[in-house]
C-alpha cells in the first residue's frame, strides 16, 4: 500500500474515524496498530521485525544512556545502540552487494537478497540514531512510554520516505490530546491532494522521458541525453516532494505537523544552499550527526579539516543510498562541490564585490543555473544503471552537446521530434508544458485558496481532483525514494 494505491484511500478514512472515536489515552495505540498494518501491507513480515528490533534497541539503549551518570557508560550504550542500528541497516542495504560478490568468489547461487526489500528502513534507523545521539548530548530526555516511542518510530505517514523527524519535535506532538481542527483537516487534505497531483500528473510524466533515456543510454546522444538528465532532475524532485506533501498532509489530519523537506531546491544559488533546501530533514541529520562531529574532531586542520569533513559526510550520504558506485560518486561529487567551495567562496565574494555584482539579479540567476547543472550532473551517476552508462552520458554531452549538423540535416521539426519528444506523445509533452507554470505559480501558495470566495475555492478543489483523474499517468512507477 502506498499513498497512490486504491487501498490507501480506504485505509486512511477508516483509520481516521477509529482514531477520532477513540479516547485520547488510547489514540497512540490506534496509530501504532495502523502504522504496523500499513507497513505489513508490503507483505514482508521481516520488515515488521526489523522495525520492532530497531525500536526496542534504541528504546533500551536510550533509557540506559539516560540512566547512566558516568560518561563511559553513556558512551558505551550510545555506541551499542548506534552500531546495532547501523549493522541492521547495512545488512539489509548491502546484502545484494555481498551476495553478488560471495556468489562470484565461491561460485554459489545465493538469491536471498532478491526476496529482501528495505523500504523505509533507512529512515527509521536514522531516526533511532538521532534519538540516541540527542539523549547522549542531553538535548532530549529518554522517552519513558514505550508505546509513544514506538509510534514515533513507526508513524505511518513518514515511515517509508521520511521526513526524518527529531524526537524533540515529533514525540511531544504524538502525546498531545487530539482536538478536531477544521482548518488543519482542510489544509491537510489539500496538501495531500496537491502532492498526489505532483506525483501522478507531473513526476510520473517526467519519468517517461527519464526512463526512456536512462534505460537505453547508448541509443541517444547530445541533446537527448541532456533532456533525459533534466527530466530525471525534475522527476526526482516532484516525486520526492510530492511524497513529502502527502505525508505532511496526512500528518496534519491527525494533528501532527511534519517537517517541511523541500524549499524550491532548484532555485538554490550554491550547492550549500541546495542542501539547505533539498531533503532538509536528511541534510540536517548528516550535518548534525556526521559533519559537525567530524569538523569538531578535525578543527585543528582548519579549512582542510572542514573540507575533509564535508567530503566524508557526503561520501557516507552516498553509501546510505545503497551499494552502488553510482551513489558513491553522486555523494562524492556533492562532497567535492562543497569542499571546493570552502576554498573559493571568500575569493568569489571579493570578486562579486569588486565588480559590484553582490545584489545583481543576473548574478543570482546565473548562480541558480550553474547550481542546477552541477546538481543535474551528479544526478546522472545517481540514476544511471551502471558507471559505464553514466560515463557515456557525461562524455557524450561534453563532446556532442547540441548537434548542429544533425539538426540541419534532419530539419528542426524532425530534429526536435527525435531529440525532444523521443517516443513520448505530444499529449504528455503538452500536459507538462501546461501544468509546470501552474505548479510554479501555486506550489508555495496553495493555501491562499482558502482566502478566496467560496465558489472559487470549491471550483479549485474540484478542478484539481478532475485534473488528477483525467491526466494521471497510466504507468504508475513507485516513488523513487522508496528504494532507500
Amino acid at each position: 500500500m502506498t499513498f497512490t494505491s486504491f487501498t490507501f484511500y480506504l485505509f486512511l478514512p477508516v483509520v481516521y474515524l477509529i482514531f477520532y472515536w477513540t479516547a485520547d489515552r488510547w489514540r497512540w495505540l490506534v496509530l501504532l496498530v495502523a502504522s504496523y498494518g500499513f507497513y505489513a501491507s508490503f507483505k514482508a513480515p521481516y520488515l515488521l521485525i526489523v522495525l520492532f528490533m530497531v525500536t526496542i534497541i534504541s528504546y533500551v539503549c536510550g533509557s540506559r544512556i539516560g540512566s547512566h551518570q558516568d560518561e563511559t557508560g553513556r558512551k558505551r550504550w550510545l555506541q551499542i545502540g548506534v552500531v546495532a542500528c547501523v549493522a541492521i541497516l547495512a545488512f539489509l542495504k548491502y546484502l545484494p552487494f555481498f551476495e553478488t560478490h560471495t556468489n562470484t568468489l565461491f561460485g554459489l547461487n545465493i538469491t536471498l537478497s532478491r526476496t529482501i526489500i528495505s523500504i523505509g528502513v533507512s529512515y527509521f534507523t536514522f531516526q533511532a540514531i538521532s534519538y540516541l545521539a540527542d539523549i547522549y548530548l542531553e538535548i532530549e530526555d529518554p522517552e519513558k512510554h514505550f508505546g509513544h516511542y514506538a509510534l514515533y518510530m513507526a508513524f505511518f505517514p513518514k515511515l517509508l520516505q521520511g521526513p526524518i523527524e527529531r524526537a524533540g519535535y515529533l514525540l511531544p506532538q504524538l502525546k498531545q490530546p487530539y482536538q478536531f481542527d477544521y482548518d488543519a483537516m482542510r489544509s491537510g487534505l489539500l496538501l495531500f491532494t496537491w502532492g498526489l497531483f505532483k506525483k501522478v500528473v507531473v513526476a510520473d510524466r517526467f519519468a517517461l522521458y527519464a526512463d526512456q533515456v536512462f534505460n537505453n543510454v547508448h541509443s541517444y546522444t547530445g541533446l537527448t541525453l541532456i533532456i533525459g538528465t533534466y527530466a530525471y532532475a525534475f522527476q526526482i524532485f516532484f516525486d520526492f516532494s510530492a511524497y513529502t506533501d502527502m505525508a505532511r498532509g496526512v500528518g496534519r489530519m491527525f494533528g501532527i505537523n511534519l517537517t517541511e523537506n523541500f524549499n524550491s531546491p532548484y532555485l538554490a544559488t550554491s550547492i550549500a544552499d541546495f542542501w539547505r533546501r533539498w531533503h532538509i530533514s536528511f541534510s540536517r541529520w548528516i550535518l548534525d550527526y556526521i559533519f559537525k562531529p567530524l569538523q569538531l574532531g578535525w578543527r585543528d586542520w582548519g579549512q582542510t579539516g572542514t573540507a575533509l569533513a564535508l567530503l566524508v559526510t557526503f561520501f557516507v550520504s552516498g553509501i546510505w543510498h545503497g551499494a552502488s558506485w553510482g551513489f558513491v560518486i553522486w555523494g562524492l561529487l556533492h562532497g567535492i562541490y562543497l569542499a571546493a567551495s570552502t576554498y573559493y567562496r571568500p575569493y568569489q565574494k571579493k570578486l562579486h564585490k569588486m565588480f559590484g555584482l553582490e545584489h545583481s539579479s543576473w548574478l543570482k540567476w546565473w548562480q541558480v543555473l550553474v547550481t542546477f547543472n552541477l546538481v543535474s550532473l551528479a544526478w546522472i551517476f545517481f540514476r544511471a544503471k551502471s558507471l559505464g552508462d553514466a560515463w557515456y552520458i557525461v562524455n557524450n554531452i561534453a563532446h556532442t552537446g547540441f548537434d548542429y549538423k544533425l539538426a540541419r540535416s534532419n530539419g528542426i521539426a524532425g530534429f526536435l521530434n527525435e531529440n525532444l519528444f523521443l517516443n513520448i506523445s505530444m499529449y504528455d509533452f503538452t500536459v507538462l508544458v501546461v501544468v509546470l507554470p501552474v505548479i510554479w505559480l501555486l506550489n508555495k501558495r496553495i493555501f491562499s485558496v482558502f482566502s478566496k470566495p467560496a465558489l472559487a475555492r470549491w471550483l479549485s478543489y474540484a478542478l484539481l481532483l478532475a485534473v488528477i483523474a483525467v491526466f494521471m499517468c497510466q504507468d504508475k512507477p513507485a516513488f523513487v525514494y522508496f528504494q532507500f
Binding site: M426, D428, V470, F471
Partner: protein
C-alpha cells in the same frame, strides 16, 4: 452530538459536495468532448469494439482475434472489412481484437450481445494456433481485461468477490464520464492536433511476406516450436461452446471461420522431424474442430487451405493478399447463404 463531531460531519459533507462537483465537471467535460470533437477519427480502428461497440446498423460482424484485425495491411482500404464491403456491397462491423484470449472473446461477446439485434451474422475466426497445445503462459484475465472492465462486468461475484467489487468500481468510473470510458481518448485527441496517430504500416505491422521481410516470422515460429506440446490431444473446445451459447440465445447466425495456415513456413522453418509433428498436430486439430462444429450443427467456413504461401505475414496471419482472399470468401458466403 459534540461540537467537534458536528464539525467533522460538516467536513465529511463538504468532501462529498466537492466530489459531486468534481463528478459534474468530469461528466460535462466528457459530454462536450464526446459530442463536439472528432475523437473517433483518432481512435484505433482495430479496437473499434472497445470504443464504439454499439449496434451501428450493420447486419454482419467480424469477431475474433488478430486474423480478422488485418494487422498486416498498409492502409485502411486494404482491411478485411473494407474489402468485404467492396465484394458484397455490405457493411461489416470490425469487432475483432488483436491478441484476444479466451476471456477477451467472452467479454467481447457480451458487448456484441448487448446491442446487436437478432438475425445478425457473426463471423468468428478460429486461427489454426488457437487450440494448439503449448506451454506458453496465457495472460490472466486476457489481454484486454483492463479495457473491458471499464465497459462491462467481466466476472461473476461467485468466482471472485473482490475482483467483482473492483470490476463494479471500474464500470462505475467508466460510466461516470466519457473521459474514463475508453483509453487514450484525450491522449489521441491532443496528439491529433499536431500529428494524428498512425495505425497502419508501423513497426512490424505492414504488408509483409513471411520469408522476405526479416526474421519476424521465423522468430515467432521458433517460439512456438520450442514451446509446442504436440502430443497433448485437445478433446473439447469450450470456447466454441461458450460463444455459441452466448450468441445463439440472441438469435444470431454464428459462422465459425477456420482461417488459413502457412504450411510452407512450417516446412521451411521447422526441423524435418518437428515440422512433420507440428504439421500433423495442426491438421489433427483442424479436423477435430471441423467435426466438432459439424456434430453440433454449427455453420462454418473452412479456409484452412485457402491461401498459398505469399498470402502470409507469418504462420497464422495473412497479409493484404491473404486478407483479400478471406474477405472475398466471406462475401461469397453471404451471397450464397442470404439471411
Amino acid at each position: 452530538m459534540t461540537e467537534s463531531s458536528k464539525k467533522l460531519l460538516s467536513f465529511i459533507a463538504k468532501i462529498g459536495l466537492v466530489l459531486i462537483l468534481t463528478i459534474s465537471i468530469l461528466k460535462i467535460s466528457g459530454e462536450l468532448i464526446e459530442r463536439y470533437t472528432p475523437w473517433q477519427k483518432y481512435m484505433d480502428p482495430r479496437e473499434r469494439l472497445l470504443w464504439n461497440g454499439h449496434y451501428n446498423g450493420t447486419k454482419y460482424v467480424l469477431f475474433g482475434d488478430s486474423e480478422f484485425s488485418s494487422m498486416y495491411v498498409d492502409s485502411p482500404d486494404k482491411t478485411i472489412w473494407e474489402r468485404f464491403k467492396f465484394y458484397s456491397d455490405q457493411d461489416i462491423f470490425p469487432g475483432a481484437l488483436v491478441g484476444s484470449k479466451r476471456e477477451d472473446f467472452i467479454s467481447a461477446a457480451k458487448i456484441i450481445a448487448a446491442s446487436w439485434p437478432a438475425g445478425t451474422t457473426i463471423f468468428i475466426n478460429i486461427v489454426p494456433g488457437r487450440f494448439f497445445p503449448t506451454r506458453l503462459p496465457q495472460p490472466v484475465g486476457g489481454n484486454y481485461d483492463y479495457k473491458f472492465r471499464r465497459l462491462i462486468l467481466t466476472c461473476n461475484f461467485s468466482d471472485d468477490p473482490a475482483k467483482y467489487i473492483k470490476n463494479i468500481a471500474h464500470c462505475f468510473i467508466g460510466k461516470l464520464s466519457f473521459l474514463f470510458k475508453y483509453d487514450n481518448v484525450c491522449k489521441n485527441l491532443i496528439a491529433g492536433l499536431s500529428t494524428p496517430p498512425v495505425y497502419f504500416k508501423i513497426n512490424e505491422r505492414f504488408n509483409r511476406i513471411w520469408n522476405c521481410d526479416g526474421d519476424f516470422a521465423l522468430n515467432s515460429y521458433k517460439k512456438l516450436e520450442e514451446n509446442a506440446l504436440p502430443d497433448k490431444r485437445i478433446k473439447s473446445f469450450p470456447l466454441i461452446d461458450q460463444l455459441q451459447s452466448k450468441f445463439s440465445g440472441k438469435g444470431y447466425r454464428i459462422v465459425f471461420v477456420l482461417t488459413p495456415l502457412n504450411r510452407d513456413l512450417i516446412l521451411s522453418y521447422g526441423s524435418e522431424k518437428s515440422a512433420l509433428t507440428i504439421f500433423n498436430c495442426f491438421d489433427q486439430i483442424h479436423q477435430d474442430i471441423k467435426s466438432y462444429l459439424a456434430s453440433r450443427g454449427i455453420l462454418s467456413i473452412d479456409l484452412y487451405n485457402a491461401c498459398d504461401s505469399e498470402c502470409f505475414a507469418d504462420m497464422n496471419h495473412t497479409n493484404e493478399h491473404g486478407d483479400e482472399i478471406v474477405a472475398k470468401a466471406l462475401a461469397e458466403w453471404i451471397m450464397s447463404n442470404p439471411l
